[in-house]
């Protein structure tokens, strides 16, 4: 049975894995670019790396999918994990896999085992990342490492609140602390793991300062455990000045709050809310996201597809999404200039708001405990939380220009200036309706900001 430094892996999973030293030796000698290599190259070139989400249940199907997507020249490929594995229901994942793999919404890596994972990693000329959504991803992490995969998404807040109902933050934060500690040990052993933090959160109307505050706290926690390479993702909200400012804020905030030995890479997730079903609007939005990524200086962009609103995309649609993203981030759109003053103003306020959110938490002795407490008291919160461990009382709205603002900041510890600004920006919107059907209609309208534009130019 394998022993992992600082990382508690369940006995059943550990029993199937190679020894830690063998894993480290294997990782050290893997040929080819790693995700950090790819991200550094992207930063040098000014053109973001591109990565699709992709995961299907069957192993042969997964190999075929990766190989087909590789033809569209992504920079990184994903192993997107199914929901059962995310929730540690490895047995259900294994059962559905045996019955009918196509019914799984991702690749059950633990059920398939690390040897098959290596086959995936060897099948394509680009590095892989495991993307999941596990409040407790330790077993999956150990399996991914054994498979030779050194880019691993997740964090104690971002992979808890959107992804499960009732896992206390303390539990998820401590389990991710172990993952980060293992990454620290690997860094010492010369293996650099890219840890991506899921700033997308619940994906729908997430105010930038909430996304950035959460990933910043996770990043500080990870850095303290020795993590040396952090990708910080931010979900495109759709108002480009705000989104570009948020992406730039990833770098300015990292410079302000993080150990300078940590490399930080901003990542844009193309629009993560309700996607337009119409292929033309979907294509437009994909291109819009690619532009946003490049203008915001993202190191990487995770692409969407024309089929997003319908279901898991087929390989064809996903390849198209990758290629359209490449076009949108290419010199073809070099001419696009943004109103620099507007971006600067958004950036200023985002930095300000994030400071107001994170500084009280960072001031505490025990960071992880402080995070849990802040969510309990509402000094941190996310809208549409899936989990009962966030208050779910913040109400976001779009302002008349489409930017996401706080209609109700609830108990977030914002300054008077911040509050007044949001109130003023929303003053131009339809007045916040009373609770009741009218309010729901207003929220649905904001959620459907892009989804509603379908079909284009109905005759």
């Amino acid at each position: 049975m394998a022993e992992f430094p600082g990382l508690e892996v369940s006995a059943a999973v550990a029993a199937r894995l190679p020894d830690w030293d063998d894993i480290v030796a294997y990782l050290r000698n893997r040929p080819g670019d790693t995700v950090p290599d790819v991200l550094r190259a992207a930063d040098r070139s000014g053109v973001p790396a591109i990565q699709p989400r992709c995961g299907v249940g069957g192993h042969a199907e997964m190999l075929a999918l990766l190989r087909e997507l590789a033809l569209s020249a992504p920079s990184v490929l994903s192993v997107t994990i199914d929901s059962y594995t995310r929730l540690r229901q490895f047995d259900v994942a294994a059962r559905v896999l045996a019955e009918e793999p196509a019914r799984l919404n991702g690749y059950p890596l633990v059920a398939h085992g690390w040897q098959r994972g290596r086959e995936l990693a060897d099948a394509v000329p680009v590095p892989l990342e495991v993307r999941h959504g596990s409040p407790d991803g330790r077993d999956l992490f150990a399996t991914a490492l054994a498979a030779g995969i050194t880019s691993f998404e997740g964090g104690g807040i971002g992979y808890n609140l959107p992804y499960c109902k009732d896992v206390p933050l303390d539990v998820s934060l401590r389990s991710w602390q172990q993952v980060d500690a293992a990454c620290g040990a690997l860094a010492d052993a010369g293996v650099l793991v890219d840890r991506e933090l899921f700033g997308t959160l619940t994906a729908v109307l997430v105010p930038p300062s909430i996304s950035l505050a959460v990933t910043l706290l996770e990043a500080v926690a990870a850095a303290r455990e020795g993590v040396r390479c952090i990708s910080i993702s931010y979900p495109q909200g759709g108002e480009i000045h705000q989104d570009v400012a948020a992406l730039r804020a990833v770098r300015t905030l990292a410079a302000r709050y993080l150990d300078p030995r940590v490399e930080v890479f901003p990542v844009l997730h193309q629009f993560m809310g309700a996607f337009p079903a119409d292929p033309a609007w979907a294509s437009g939005l994909i291109l819009h996201g690619a532009l946003t990524a490049r203008l915001g200086g993202a190191s990487k962009v995770v692409n969407k597809t024309e089929q997003e609103a319908r279901g898991l995309p087929d390989a064809d649609a996903n390849g198209k999404g990758i290629r359209l993203t490449a076009v949108g981030a290419s010199s073809m759109f070099d001419f696009v200039e943004l109103d620099a003053d507007r971006v600067a103003e958004e950036l200023h306020w985002i930095e300000e708001e994030v400071a107001e959110l994170v500084e009280p938490v960072l001031a505490e002795e025990d960071l992880l405990a402080a995070i849990g407490a802040a969510f309990r008291t509402g000094r941190l919160d996310v809208p549409f939380s899936a989990s009962v461990h966030a208050r779910n009382q913040v109400i976001p709205r779009r302002d008349p220009g489409g930017a996401i603002r706080y209609a109700d900041h609830s108990a977030l510890p914002f300054s008077g200036a911040t509050r007044r600004r949001h109130a003023a920006l929303l003053a131009g919107s339809a007045p916040a309706p009373r609770p009741g059907p009218g309010e729901i209609t207003a929220v649905i309208r904001d959620i459907s900001y892009f989804a509603d534009r379908t079909p284009a130019r109905t005759p």
Partner: protein, 147 residues
């Protein structure tokens, strides 16, 4: 079960299927029904079927069980429905909505096998939900002993 006085709020049980963490539609539907005067027992995301059964035991006045599933796992997440029904549990109309199979190309077989499991109503758009609940309510009145 005894018939409710007509001025009592109508009760429904709402939740998202066992493996599914998508919360947005669930919260909107909850608010919508409450705005229309319903008493909603919202079990939230990632709710195994037996928790729906437990909730019904605790709230026998509930008129329907509303289950959302958008992550594509509806079938696997609901596969214990026949077993629970055999045990005499969940004996209310089960209304299912969302994105009910994996993939961008849907086939009618995807829905057929959910119906075969015992799902009573499959709803596509939110706008169908209130009329359906009213129909179910009306159908219930002449036979108040149904539950």
């Amino acid at each position: 079960m005894t018939p409710l006085p007509t001025d009592q709020p109508r009760t429904v049980i709402l939740g998202v299927a066992a493996s599914d963490a998508h919360a947005v539609a669930n919260q909107l539907i909850c608010r919508l029904l409450r705005a229309h005067g319903f008493h909603v027992v919202n079990l939230g995301v990632c709710t195994p079927l037996h928790e729906f059964a437990d909730a019904l035991d605790a709230e026998p006045a509930a008129e329907a069980i509303l289950i959302g599933s958008v992550n594509g796992h509806a079938y696997a997440d609901l596969r214990d429905l026949p077993e629970l029904r055999r045990q005499g549990r969940l004996d209310r109309p089960v209304v299912l909505g969302g994105n009910l199979s994996v993939g961008a190309h849907k086939r009618s077989a995807d829905l057929d096998r959910l119906t075969a499991l015992g799902v009573d109503h499959i709803v596509t758009g939110l706008s169908e939900l209130l009329p359906l609940l009213d129909t179910l309510h009306a159908a219930r009145q002449p036979a108040p002993q149904h539950g």
